[in-house]
């Protein structure tokens, strides 16, 4: 039996070089960044070096990086912190329908706090149309938050075009780049955004650390009140080992980005071509070309994602699904529903995400393992039985 991890959207492993970069700050250089002695100096140097590397990854300036404890925190910080800081100018915010819950639920919280929220739709590929964003903007729109790429279906949004529209209105533009940062080139200036979120565990850094890039001069309400850490915008003792790890991961991601993307996209394309040709009634979700290099997402008709996931797991293959049954809230993925995928088809959602350890043989193994699993579940599916019956009757 194989051991094939294809759930890199959940988290990547930590690269040995990254772990190496983290270790000294647990044991030897364990000082507190804020301390005024040499222990503090060492920690401070590590954090500032990481800050520079993260800024480098996205074409920003070191002082514009605020370290956080996750991508979720970065998104909460940006959405709530920016809206609260600029509410004197208006109380309207705009997000897309397929944002990560850390953006969506933050926006809903703002709604409870008296803000007004507009959701921009997406097309069947999950793409946001800049024209729809333009239509949603009002005089009192203070903040727009639209993701750079969607991890569930891999679609990469036209952020540059959207930013142009948003800029004309004078609103602040935040983009959640947790799924894309470290995987595809990002230049915050070229994109024209005001704030951007990223997370280390999406590109071979440790869990529990992320960053918010905030353009110089843009005001924000502190996320955590307390000491002077992160210029007083995010108090709390800095997680030095994790930040050092994020820095190293960012440095490696930048250096190896092209080579990694080439490898991942070859694996992705092999699976996207292979699966629907081996199994009937499988549809590829997301955009055919504007998609993350490591993302191959599907809906397998007539069966349910959790059952597939469990059978794949029994064969040593780790994937994820956006089916209602796999979610804690028992709701089908809001991303797939927003793309107009019918509920019963969204139930068959399956997401493969590639990483550095994956090979073409892994894809072969998946292509070999999937058909009997799908077959087995379809044999017991009342929906499939109905489909076969109606088809033989010539109906639809």
């Amino acid at each position: 039996m194989g051991e094939v991890y294809l759930d890199h959207v959940a988290t990547t492993p930590v690269l040995p070089e990254v772990l190496e970069a983290m270790l000294p700050y647990f044991k030897d250089a364990y000082g507190n960044v804020q301390s005024l002695h040499s222990w503090g100096d060492k920690a401070r140097e590590a954090v500032e070096e990481a800050r520079g590397k993260v800024a480098d990854l996205i074409g920003g300036v070191a002082e514009e990086i605020i370290f956080t404890a996750s991508g979720t925190e970065s998104n909460n910080f940006a959405v709530k912190g920016l809206a609260m800081a600029h509410q004197a100018r208006g109380k309207h915010i705009v997000v897309s329908a397929i944002e990560h819950f850390s953006v969506l639920h933050s926006a809903k919280t703002l709604e409870k706090w008296g803000f007004e929220l507009s959701e921009v739709p997406v097309d069947k590929y999950g793409l946001v149309d800049p024209k729809d964003v333009a239509r949603s903007l009002r005089k009192d729109t203070i903040l727009v938050s639209i993701m750079h790429a969607n991890s569930e279906v891999g679609t990469i949004e036209p952020i540059k075009e959207i930013a142009r529209v948003v800029k004309q209105s004078g609103a602040i533009f935040h983009t959640d780049a947790v799924a894309s940062a470290g995987s595809i080139p990002i230049n915050v200036k070229g994109l024209g955004v005001d704030a951007l979120s990223l997370a280390a565990n999406q590109f071979y850094g440790p869990k529990g650390v992320g960053a918010l890039w905030l353009k110089k001069g843009v005001r924000i309400i502190p996320f955590l009140d307390g000491g002077v850490q992160e210029e007083g915008r995010r108090a709390g003792t800095e997680n030095v080992p994790a930040i050092a790890g994020l820095g190293k991961a960012a440095e490696l991601a930048k250096a190896e980005m092209g080579a990694r993307a080439k490898r991942f996209s070859a694996l992705r394309d092999k699976l996207i071509a292979g699966l629907p040709s081996r199994i009937e009634h499988v549809l590829v979700t997301g955009h055919p070309t504007k998609r993350l290099p490591g993302n191959a997402s599907f809906c397998v008709e007539f069966i349910e994602g959790e059952a597939m996931l469990m059978l794949l797991n029994s064969q040593g293959i780790a994937v994820s699904s956006g089916s209602a049954c796999t979610s804690r809230a028992l709701k089908a993925s809001h991303v797939l529903i927003a793309m107009g995928i019918p509920h019963e088809i969204a139930q068959g959602s399956l997401l493969f995400s590639f990483g550095l350890d994956n090979t073409g043989e892994d894809v072969d193994y998946v292509l070999e393992t999937m058909p009997p699993i799908v077959d087995r579940l379809r044999q017991m599916s009342p929906l499939y039985a109905k489909f076969l019956k109606d088809k033989s009757r010539g109906g639809k």
């Binding site: 007539f302 069966i303 349910e304 959790e306 059952a307 996931l309 469990m310 797991n313 029994s314 089916s323 209602a324 049954c325 796999t326 804690r328 028992l330 709701k331 089908a332 509920h343 019963e344 139930q347 044999q379 017991m380 599916s381 009342p382 929906l383 499939y384 039985a385």
Partner: protein
């Protein structure tokens, strides 16, 4: 993936009695209002006893394990006994389900119940038209 116990996993990996019964005496179909999944139960009845049960399930691991368990519990029982199979009993036989998967056990018990009702209804009709028990 939710954490299922060994018994649930065993039924999920080796579900008993999967399939359809041609010319079933009773058929029960239910949809899960919570997650949108579906289950169909087919029964064969002899002398007021369920002599055969089969089912088809579109749903999660728990739903599959539940349908397998319900089919085992129902087989050989009289209709009255089988009607007493509740979601709680199914969950108990499975030695527990994760909290957010309890609704899947409703599906199984409901589908079986519906199949029995379907049989009884048909029986009523045949009884009237043919003045007699089962064919």
């Amino acid at each position: 993936m939710p954490v299922y116990n060994e018994k649930v996993m065993e039924h999920f990996m080796n579900p008993r009695n999967v399939g359809e019964i041609e010319n079933a005496d009773g058929i029960g179909e239910v949809g899960n209002p919570v997650c949108g999944d579906m289950m169909s139960f087919y029964i064969k009845v002899d002398n007021n006893r369920i002599s055969d049960v089969k089912y088809k399930t579109f749903g999660c691991g728990a739903a599959i394990a539940v349908s397998s368990m319900v089919s085992e519990m129902a087989k050989g029982k009289t209709l009255e006994e089988a009607k007493k199979i509740t979601p709680a009993l199914v969950a108990k036989e499975l030695e527990g389900l994760p909290k957010n998967k309890y609704h899947c056990s409703n599906l199984g018990a409901q589908a079986l119940n519906k199949a029995i009702d379907n049989y009884l209804k048909k029986q009523g009709k045949t009884a009237k038209s043919q003045k007699g028990g089962k064919k």
